[in-house]
Amino acid sequence: MSALDFSTKIGSKRFSNPIFTASGCASSGQELSQFFSLTEIGAIVTKSIMTKPRTGRATPRMAETPSGMLNSIGLQGPGIDAFLENDIPWLVANQVKIIVSIAGETVDEYGVLARRLRAVPGISAVEVNISCPNVENRGQVFACHTDTATAVIEAVRRNIGGELPIVAKLSPDVTDIVEIASAVINAGVDGLALINTLLGMVIDTNTMKPKLAGKTGGLSGPAIRPVAVRAIYQVHQAFPNTPIVGMGGVASGRDALELVLAGASAVSVGTASFGNPMAALQIRNELSELLTQKGFSDFRDAIGFAHRGV
């Protein structure tokens, strides 16, 4: 790795390398630390947190699918108070780079969460997971419409103060992801996270009913990688200066490189950590080796490389 400058930037923040965990796929970090030191990777993105404790959905919460899985956790979590009290201090004490992911049922809830985060030291960015059902509007997902997406980002922007980079996490389940990206960029985000899961369903042919208690669930894993690459490519093409945290089915350094070439400034590892607890670290090492082999001396030169001179 000697020759490679592997660092990357999201807004004003610098990360020592571009491999992050994906929200909801590393809990709040401690569990993975048994397998490798979390300071070895660029950042831990914590599970999307809401204002209050959430029980989440009934089980079954998951179904394996070909090269993928569905999940329907229902944003189970301790709520922002307990999270700030128990989880953040441990991460800070262990010098882990932290990106806090937040989720809300109303525009206001996002604002409240942003306000709670503004004074917390040791956080490097906030990821705004807008792929949540809006209880004020028939459960329509915020990320699916430009107006609701914009409203959430504006609420966060107003409440968070000037310091912390805001990353909007978009859903691929839209007719035109570039349009949504454009809206949140205009609303002032510093980066985008692409992609959240695709809405899917598995029917158990034994019981002849939907397998998940929540009926539908989010599809993740290698199955969706081509959709992630396409989304990242399209958005980077339209907004080459907006950093993208890419994710979706990354399970190897080769996969991470694919997202980087498409336009990702950082790559989050989600489902792959379920199959392999060392995945994030291994992917970091493989990516660094691949980049070096290809003659890159600065990681940032590889970002969006597939767009050049095609």
Binding site: A58, T59, S67, M69, M278
Partner: protein
């Protein structure tokens, strides 16, 4: 209340060589070379195994209860599993030959708690759920406990009860749904009489959720302790995905705890077994 705890601190990811793979009735008894992992394995712990090989479309690990662990032997530490060839993943595992290397994470999860005094214990296993009970029986017997074992299944050959496993038990009762061996009927039907007969003070159980739930009810009626090893679908096995949860009582309400970290061995009295109660609370 169950206090949340973090991942089993002995868990490691290793490449484990298959030392033996034998068909026993409808199951495969498999032995793996695991080095240090054996010494850290306690009855109730499980391992999580990658299935399907390099090109696999199966991306999630499969959990298997540790049947027994031995930290010495010609090949160093080893653990044994009892695998039912059920779906794609377990069939693949059962198809692995001696000498193959298997990606394994373990030991994972909680272990059966051992009474500090020499209590009368009853170990109840359904199907391959009997697997972790034999090692537990040994530990209990060494502690001076009375160990009564009750094993049930739908039919005779699905009861996993190897000869050498029986040496630590004071009594062994078999039940089958079809009456092909032992007592005719569901395992839970036989339990109340046996509890009275053996003056059972602690129940350990492992098997299908329906069986565990029935036993939990009985334990409550008799007001005796009940530790059960539950089995929920797990995506990661290491506490990061939140798919494997089970509802437990929490300050009058309900709380979802991870069975891969706070289980699989849990206090049967803490679990909310009734699905309607759970659905209403959500």
């Amino acid at each position: 209340m169950i206090t949340p705890q973090k991942i089993n601190r002995n868990a490691k990811q290793i490449q484990a060589e298959v030392l033996s793979n034998k068909k026993v009735g409808p199951y495969h008894h498999m032995v793996f070379a695991v080095g240090d992992m054996a010494a850290h394995s306690k009855p109730g712990n499980f391992v999580a195994i990658s299935v399907g090989g390099e090109q696999s479309s199966l991306i999630l690990r499969r959990a298997f209860a540790i049947y027994r662990a031995s930290d010495k032997g010609p090949m160093g530490g080893s653990i044994e599993l009892v695998v039912a060839p059920h779906g794609q993943g377990s069939k693949w595992l059962c198809g692995q030959n001696v000498g193959a290397f298997i990606d394994m994470v373990g030991p994972l999860g909680t272990a059966f708690g051992i009474p500090t005094t020499n209590a009368n214990t009853m170990l109840i296993g359904g199907g391959y759920g009997s697997a972790p009970l034999f090692a537990l029986a040994e530990v209990l017997k060494n502690r001076g406990c009375r160990v009564d074992m009750v094993l049930g299944a739908s039919t005779a050959n699905k009861i996993y009860a190897p000869l050498e496993g029986k040496r630590s038990v004071s009594s062994l009762t078999l039940t089958t749904d079809d009456g092909s061996t032992g007592i005719h009927g569901q395992i839970s039907e036989a339990i109340p009489r046996l509890i009275r007969e053996y003056s059972t003070e602690v129940i350990y159980s492992c098997g299908p959720m329906g069986m565990l739930s029935a036993i939990a009810k009985i334990a409550e009626d008799f007001d005796i302790a009940h530790q059960c090893a539950v089995e929920e679908a797990m995506a990661c096995g290491i506490g990061v995905c939140m798919t494997c949860v089970i509802p437990v009582k929490n300050e009058g309400g309900i709380k979802m705890v991870r069975t891969c970290i706070d289980g699989p061995v849990m206090d049967g009295a803490e679990i909310i077994w009734d699905r309607k109660t759970v659905m209403d609370a959500l």
